[in-house]
């Protein structure tokens, strides 16, 4: 469904011939209720308004009155000095993004009262403005296995882990969206930034401008500044943009892509480093592939390196596909380490590891898996599934002995090499029923801790399973 573009007809800054399907409504900023007079099916909408001339709660109220979900409507502020042709292309991007909106639920809407009342607000009932808050799907959240990736990264401490469950404090949430792109299982989502919406917008921008363009991921709190060959894509916070999104833009056909930190004033949440690290990681990957690293950190727009081979490149867990596709394009056996890498590699110290399997149990993406086969146990790892969340490290009981480490690393060989064993060992089996009891290395470690005086106990633990111990 293609979104309808409605623009404020007062002092229009857009040449209607550039957007023939746009509908101009006189006085839309002053009275957003006038959009109700538009005779179209307005289930998806892009609004073009004049900054400072409208009151967001009024616009959202008007949208609801014509049965439009305000969280899905794209609002574009136009300034007098914006070139009409730039706005026209930017609008095509927003139109595609609005069209890809999949709807929101009651939990997504977070009401906020503006600190300052507008003059009109004195004469009308109070209305809150709504922002989109993330929503956690407990059915796919890996917290029960110990994952707490969202807890560690939330700048507002909105997430808490307790007894295998994540609690989310909507009041504390800003919301910056970092949890959405970082959650290893995709349990956290926001309706305003989905992989489909970003892909739709970037694709529309790339195809609407006649020449190669650069994409700038910018914080939606600030103003957008489209300029020739450069177009802005607004996200709740540019620190939520993973490096692979920048590379995905290049695969789609952009000539440059970068995440923009909040500038001189700095990020009000103190998250600027996230955007800087994403740019740096993407730049390292490009260099590793023998491509121009300036495509993600410079001011220039380059000839696109388009490759349509990756399906849904902004989707979760597609980072590895994007990286492999880039390496394949240039035929490079890329292998680099970077702390902000979207993929990781787990290393196991086979002498310190007891094969207890806690890391595999915690791993939210099943990159680490523990496999029992007869009286053998192995810990296997698939680099393609690893998202460098480091949850396995925090869960390891032998961390103090250096049993496990994760490095942010992009190794084409590992990414394409499939699953491999990181550690193997034998399993103590029950002498009565033959059932596996525990890895021998784990029993040895328990023996080390307990000491000689518990030798009998240990012998019992290591020779009979839980069910058969009563027969001792």
């Amino acid at each position: 469904m293609t979104a309808t573009i409605i623009l404020c007809g007062d002092a229009p800054h857009i040449d209607a011939t550039e957007i023939p399907d746009a509908i101009a409504v006189e006085g839309l900023c002053r009275d957003p209720g006038r959009m109700g007079t538009v005779d179209v099916d307005p289930s998806r909408i892009v609004l073009v308004l004049h900054p400072g001339s409208y009151h967001l709660p009024d616009v959202q109220t008007a949208l609801r009155s014509i049965d439009v979900d305000p969280l899905g409507a794209q609002i574009m502020d136009t300034a007098q000095d914006d070139a009409a042709i730039l706005l026209a292309v930017a609008l095509r991007g927003l139109q595609a993004r609005a069209s890809a909106f999949a709807g929101s639920s009651a939990e997504h809407a977070k009401p906020e009262f503006p600190r300052e009342m507008s003059r009109r607000g004195f004469f009308r009932p109070l209305a809150p403005a709504y922002v989109a808050a993330p929503l956690l799907d407990h059915t796919i959240c890996a917290a029960t296995n110990g994952c707490r990736a969202c807890v560690g990264l939330c700048p507002q401490a909105a997430y808490r882990w307790q007894s295998g469950k994540i609690s989310y404090d909507k009041d504390a949430c800003v919301p910056c969206g970092r949890c959405v792109t970082t959650c290893p299982t995709g349990a956290i989502e926001t309706p305003v930034v989905t992989a489909e919406m970003i892909e739709a917008q970037v694709t529309a921008l790339v195809t609407s401008w006649g020449e190669p363009i650069g994409i700038r991921f910018v914080c939606s709190r600030g103003a957008l500044h489209h300029r020739p060959n450069w177009f802005d894509v607004a996200v709740p916070c540019s620190s939520m943009v993973p490096g692979s999104w920048l590379l995905a833009c290049l695969l789609i056909g952009a000539g440059a892509a970068t995440a923009i930190p909040c500038g001189d004033a700095g990020c009000p949440l103190g998250l600027d480093q996230g955007a800087i690290e994403a740019n740096d990681f993407a730049s390292s990957v490009l260099a590793g592939c023998g491509l121009e690293s300036g495509m993600v950190v410079g001011e220039s727009v380059f000839e696109p390196i388009r490759d349509g081979g990756v399906d849904a490149p902004f989707a979760r867990h597609r980072a590895a596909d994007v990286l492999v596709a880039l390496a394949a394009l240039t035929n490079r056996a890329m292998d680099l380490t970077h702390p902000a890498a979207d993929t990781g590699v787990v290393q196991i110290d086979e002498f310190a590891c007891t094969m207890c399997g806690q890391c595999a149990k915690t791993c939210p993406t099943h990159a680490l898996v523990e496999v029992y086969e007869g009286d053998l146990v192995s810990l296997s790892f698939d680099a393609r599934a690893c998202v460098n969340c480091t949850q396995c490290v925090s869960s390891c009981p032998e961390l103090g002995r250096g049993a496990i480490a994760v490095t942010g690393r992009v190794s084409v060989e590992l990414l394409t090499g499939g699953r491999r064993d990181l550690n193997r060992g034998s399993v103590a089996v029950c002498e009565i029923c033959g059932k596996a009891i525990a890895p021998t290395m784990m029993m040895d470690r328990i023996g080390d801790i307990l000491g000689e005086e518990f030798e009998v106990t240990l012998a019992m633990l290591g020779s009979r399973c839980l069910d058969c111990r009563g027969r001792w």
Binding site: P57, T61, A62, R64, S65, D67, D69, A106, E107, A109, K110, P111, E112, F113, R115, P125, L126, A127, P128, Y130, K170, D171
Partner: protein, 220 residues
């Protein structure tokens, strides 16, 4: 303060309206619902995120669902049948295990909460933890809040908002999402599906909205 009072009256009305709709249907209640929906006309519900759910339910009321089919559907969804109940409309069903007298303890606890608010069960009402009873309690709290705003007692109104926030956090906001999910699974469309959508959207919004009002009052 008058604008806050208006909001509180609207919320009071909506709690009661949805609560009545969730009681067993009869011709009196249906007539009451049909008549009282006009109370909300002009109250600018479009200001709030639940307004689209409200509009959908309002359309169902407009269509005038036949009483007999509603009775059958109500019993199918919320009544105790041989094959169990798709979605029990009582909080204890979702919060405590049925064994070991857990439900009785839970109901005693919630009744103590009501008594602390000055409320006692009026015999003919549904169970104390029934969705319609809890909605009625919230309606009462909103009414007290509106009275306070109207008489210029802002501090008392805010204290009452605190009570509302706590009741929502402890009860409705906890179990209504699960209850709604079960009803939706059992009835993919129709009167009760749109009613449950409205209940869900309204309760979730209320939990956020009341906190937002309290936050705003702290900032001023």
């Amino acid at each position: 303060m008058i604008e806050w009072a208006e909001d509180s009256r609207t919320r009071q009305g909506l709690y009661r309206f949805i609560g009545v709709a969730l009681r067993p249907p009869d011709s009196y209640r249906l007539g009451m619902l049909a008549a009282s929906r006009y109370y909300f006309t002009g109250r600018e519900l479009d200001r709030f995120a639940y307004s689209r759910a409200w509009r959908r339910f309002d359309e169902h009321l407009d269509g005038g669902a036949p009483l007999q089919s509603l009775e059958v559907e109500y019993v199918r969804l919320f009544g105790v049948g041989l094959s169990g109940t798709p979605a029990m409309p009582t909080e204890s069903s979702y919060r405590v295990p049925a064994r070991d007298g857990g439900i009785a303890d839970f109901i005693s606890k919630i009744q103590r909460e009501y008594r602390a608010m000055g409320l006692v069960s009026a015999g003919k009402a549904e169970a104390p933890d029934h969705i319609s009873t809890e909605m009625e309690v919230m309606s009462y709290l909103c009414g007290v809040e509106a009275d306070a705003w109207e008489s210029g007692q802002g501090t008392q109104a805010l204290e009452n908002l605190g009570l509302e926030a706590r009741f929502l956090e402890r009860h409705l906001a906890v179990w209504v999402p699960v209850f709604s999910r079960r009803v939706r699974a059992a009835t993919p469309s129709g009167f009760y599906e749109s009613l449950i959508d409205l209940l869900h959207a309204f309760v979730i919004h209320e939990a956020d909205y009341v906190r937002a009002v309290l936050r705003r009052s702290e900032q001023r």
